[in-house]
């Protein structure tokens, strides 16, 4: 049984259907990716899975239909989203941001929180240097790291990442993708939404291509990387293989 299964999820915004009957699945311990150009509906899909915006269809997490639950209940079941907009607490310190990431484990006490924080610093050593700095003063790459670390503080079973490479310099992008692979190896299931199609396909086991709100291609990533249609999708049909 899949860890997460979305069954014909649709999102309508001001009369426009941003996501139209999309079905995807994430298996235990694997990375699944959703790729597609700007405006394909990727961000809306994630927001719907997280319960941030209303949607139709069913979302099954670990065998339970969670599609009517509010966001905080989904977080409590082990879902986490690192959004494209990062949504950090800009005027709070890195430490406070991380502490709040463990909000769902608040009964465990401060010592457990400190341990979890130290574990995260092993993945993101840059954050340890900046632990008392305000989140709003971090650079773009550091913000992305903090957003991921904050989500990991909740020890999620499924981590959803929306464009983790967005706007970051190539070196940092490489770091981030390394960390994503490490996380997968440590047992976290991941749903990766990316515009950087090649990196996403190289990293994931399965992938779906989202175009104008619908899944137009899906299958295992190796097959999709070889598919001519993926290239056309990004640079227009007029472009021939280079």
């Amino acid at each position: 049984m899949s860890l997460l299964e979305a069954r014909s999820v649709s999102v309508a915004y001001r009369g426009v259907r941003a996501v139209e009957a999309v079905s995807i699945a994430v298996e235990h311990g694997e990375i699944a990716s959703v790729i597609g150009p700007n405006g394909a509906g990727k961000t809306s899909l994630l927001a719907a899975l997280m319960g941030l915006i209303p949607s139709d269809g069913a979302v099954i997490f670990d065998g339970v239909d969670i599609s009517r639950l509010p966001t905080e209940a989904r977080v409590a079941r082990g879902l986490a989203l690192v959004p494209e907009s990062r949504d950090l607490f800009a005027t709070m310190t890195v430490r406070e941001n991380l502490a709040l990431g463990a909000y769902r484990h608040r009964s465990e006490g401060a010592a457990a929180r400190r341990d979890a924080m130290e574990q995260n610093f092993m993945l993101f050593p840059r954050l340890k240097e900046r632990v008392d700095q305000l989140a709003g003063t971090l650079s773009g790459g550091e913000r992305q790291m903090l957003a991921m670390a904050r989500a990991l503080m909740g020890r999620p079973r499924l981590l959803m990442l929306d464009e983790p490479s967005l706007g970051l310099a190539p070196l940092i992008v490489r770091d981030i993708f390394c960390i994503i692979a490490t996380l997968r190896d440590s047992g976290v299931s991941i749903l990766l939404v990316e515009q950087n199609a090649r990196a996403a396909l190289a990293l994931s086991a399965h992938a779906s291509v989202l175009e104008n709100g619908s899944v137009t291609l899906s299958g295992d990533s190796a097959t999709l990387s070889a598919d001519q249609r993926v290239t056309e999708l990004y640079l227009g049909a007029a472009v021939q293989a280079v």
Partner: protein, 341 residues
Amino acid sequence: MDSSILLALIQDGIVSGAIYALLALALVLVFAVTRTILIPVGEVVSFAALTYANLDNGKPPAVLILLLGLGVAAFLRGAIFSRGRALIQLGVETLIVPGTIAFAATLLAPLQLGVAMNAVIAIAVVAPLCPLLYRLAFAPLAEASVLVLLIAAVGTHLAISGLGLLVFGPEGARGVPFSDAVVQLGPIIFPGQAICVLAATLCVMGGLWAFFRFTLAGAALRATAINRRGARLVGIPTENAGLQAFWLAGLIAAGSGVLIAPLTTVYYDGGFLIGLKGFVAAIVGGLASYPAAALAAILVGIVESFSSFWASAFKEVIVFAGIIPVLLWRSLRHVSVEDEE
């Protein structure tokens, strides 16, 4: 004017400024979390002051009827939309908690257990009005613009102040001071009540600071104010944040009412002007900065105390006209063009 009058005026100003500072903090807190400009904060102040003052006569507080009535109204309004656990929670918060408070207050009030107990009773029966008002008036408008919320706040102020006249009558009352002691330090005389006000204000501010700085619940509330979506993503139930902010505001405002009761005769509508002075201070801080609001509040208190000495008839005119330079200053610093809705 000799120096003793000068010192007395400054001291007076600082004491009333401390009260305004408390209210300004409550207003900034509520605005940051819910975008509501809580005009009815003034009614909470005067209701707590009157309740404290009237507890002297050993009768159950008159405001209980309002507490229970608003509780029932909030329950009925919320019951349309809630089921299951949410309905139980609603019942507890709107019926059981107010009912228990009312019961305890009815038992304790005739025993005349002293000023400290009266202060506790007054705060306990008046503070819950604030979260009840949130449920009735503001929570259903959570998605509305700041302007609509402000109009709703003014409507609530109108209704609650009318109810206050109904409950308390037009007579004013003055509370028993917490302490009759007088402390003399060189040329300055500190009445006990003034010391109580300052000490209580510092305690509340310190407590709030510690709550926001050191507790996860406080951090969660701050986080909700900073980035609502981010707060939802870490699992904070943000719908409750508004309720918590109104609870805190209710406690602070009711506490301020009790503090002010022995200083002046309070009428059912007297809190409105007190609350408005808190606003002038909160606006100086742009409805966002706590320290700026607190300092501005002290300044408002001092301006008021000097203008009541020189031109007592125009005291209010001077204080509220003081908002003009503040708005002018904010206006000159403000450049961005944005859509309001």
